[in-house]
Amino acid sequence: MLTVRDLHVDYAGVVALRGVDLRVGAGELVALVGANGAGKSTLLAAVSGLHRPVRGTVTFLDEDVSGLPAYRIARRGAVLVPEGRRLFGHQTVVQNLLLGGYHRTAAEREAELARVYELFPVLAERSGQRAGTLSGGEQQMVALGRALMSRPKLLMLDEPSLGISPKFTKMIFEVLAEIRRAGTTMLLVEQNLRAALELADRAYVLQTGEVVMSGPADELAASDEVRRSYLGL
């Protein structure tokens, strides 16, 4: 579904990614792990069109999307839940969710909204509240729900548990497991390694802008070398 080849990205004048190769098959959940500053977020930003690659290609659904503006990539079905959630804080919960389904028909939006409310019943209760006034955990639910509104073919998540209480983190991961069972392909960046590797099929370990290791998630989780050198466990 997604193939990244020899991707080089500079960010703020610094080389952030140097020659990354990565593949996500249909229906797979792939995790990206590594220390802070390894380039995980930059990789997601480059795939979703927020950063332009200097070199290399991003192929999504057999089409070269490298260098396309973010709104075009989103319309093709590769949707990013950005780090820090980036909600439209002045608009209400339901307005945020509906914006997520901006390019779908009214009937599709209604159906998808019902599904999001089923996944996160608390959002139905808070539908008229301004998104900026929600707690961090609730905001993350809105961010995830907003991305789901477009029924993405590839869902990319950047640190969905960052700054969120353990209770909400557990809930978010349960929902991710459920979305995955429904067949959505996912690329996950997550600092909570145990949770990420438990959920993922495969994982890539990034270090200073390069893939240093990859393989089935359970093998990486079990490998002492990975735990010590790259994951700091």
């Binding site: 503006p69 709104y71 909600l87 002045h90 914006l99 907003r146």
Partner: protein, 286 residues
């Protein structure tokens, strides 16, 4: 007492026009962080459109409202695609220079094409109307301008706050990158702001021809008030601009009753008080 009441009514009526002129200014600022110094020139072009619709086609200013609205909306699109859209993401100074350049250009163009002479529609239909409510007398043109301005301002507010597309424009204003992750093209939303601002100023221009004259500098006094109104209402807030427009109008009217030469000073003093006491404006958030 009667005089005071009369001044308040007059102030409310002209205040509605201030609000309509301010709406486009606050919209462009709120969404794009661009101050459009050529906003008054858009009003001026709307006035000329209405004047020529009368002189060439015999249309009353009321009937040329759609024509002026559409013409200046197209002008707004042209200004965005031809100039302002090309300096997005550059330094704020570049944007200031571009809109200021547009102001000088459009004013000069008007002077070149149509001379500095003032142009007036002699007897607009509304001038034949007049109401007396108790001791207060209100003229047809003032009422027509106010009603038209309130309707148009309400329409813009409705569009921005209640429609899907309006929500997308606000989303692009709040966080363009996040909006683009929803599949929304922020640049299209910016262009839409200029079209709406053009629509609003075009309608305002045609309404104004019921009682004012077109000239290359006709927009200046209204846009000066609009700047006060935008700051007073809270930068970016359309409802705030509507409210502030009415208040500035009343302040001007009442001061005009006692000290006619200080009306402009009154409006600017009001602005100064707001900036000192409540810098974010009435309904502003920043």
């Amino acid at each position: 007492m009667t005089d005071l009441l009369q001044s308040v009514v007059n102030g409310l009526l002209i205040g509605a026009v201030f609000a309509l002129v301010a709406v486009g200014l606050t919209l462009i600022y709120g969404v794009m962080d661009v101050i459009n110094f050529a906003h008054g020139e858009m009003v001026m072009l709307g006035m000329y459109t209405s004047f020529f619709a009368w002189s060439l086609l015999g249309l009353d200013p009321l009937l040329s409202i759609p024509l002026a609205g559409v013409s200046i909306a197209l002008t707004g699109a042209l200004m965005y695609f031809g100039a302002v859209g090309r300096v997005l993401g550059r330094s704020p100074l570049a944007q200031v220079i571009v809109t200021f350049g547009l102001q000088v250009f459009l004013r000069g163009l008007a002077q070149f094409l149509w001379t500095p002479n003032t142009r007036t529609v002699p007897r607009p239909w509304a001038a034949g109307l007049r109401w007396e409510i108790g001791p207060v007398v209100i003229g047809g043109p003032q009422v027509i301008m106010a009603v038209g301005a309130l309707l148009a301002t309400g329409a813009v507010a409705y569009f921005m706050n209640r429609t899907r597309l309006g929500g997308a424009v606000r989303a692009a204003g709040e966080d363009p990158a996040a909006a683009s992750l929803m599949g929304i093209d922020p640049r299209k939303m910016y262009a839409l702001c200029w079209v709406i601002a053009g629509l609003a100023t075009g309608v305002a221009g045609a309404l104004l021809m019921n009682s004012y004259s077109a000239s290359p500098t006709a927009g200046v006094s209204f846009v000066l008030m609009a700047f006060v109104v935008v700051a007073f209402g809270g930068f970016g807030s359309i409802t705030g601009a509507a409210l502030a427009g009415l208040l500035v109008g009343v302040a001007q009217g009442v001061v005009g009753l006692y000290a006619p030469s200080y009306t402009l000073a009154a409006a600017l003093a009001l602005y100064l008080v707001v900036v000192l006491v409540r810098p974010q404006g009435l309904l502003g958030t920043r």
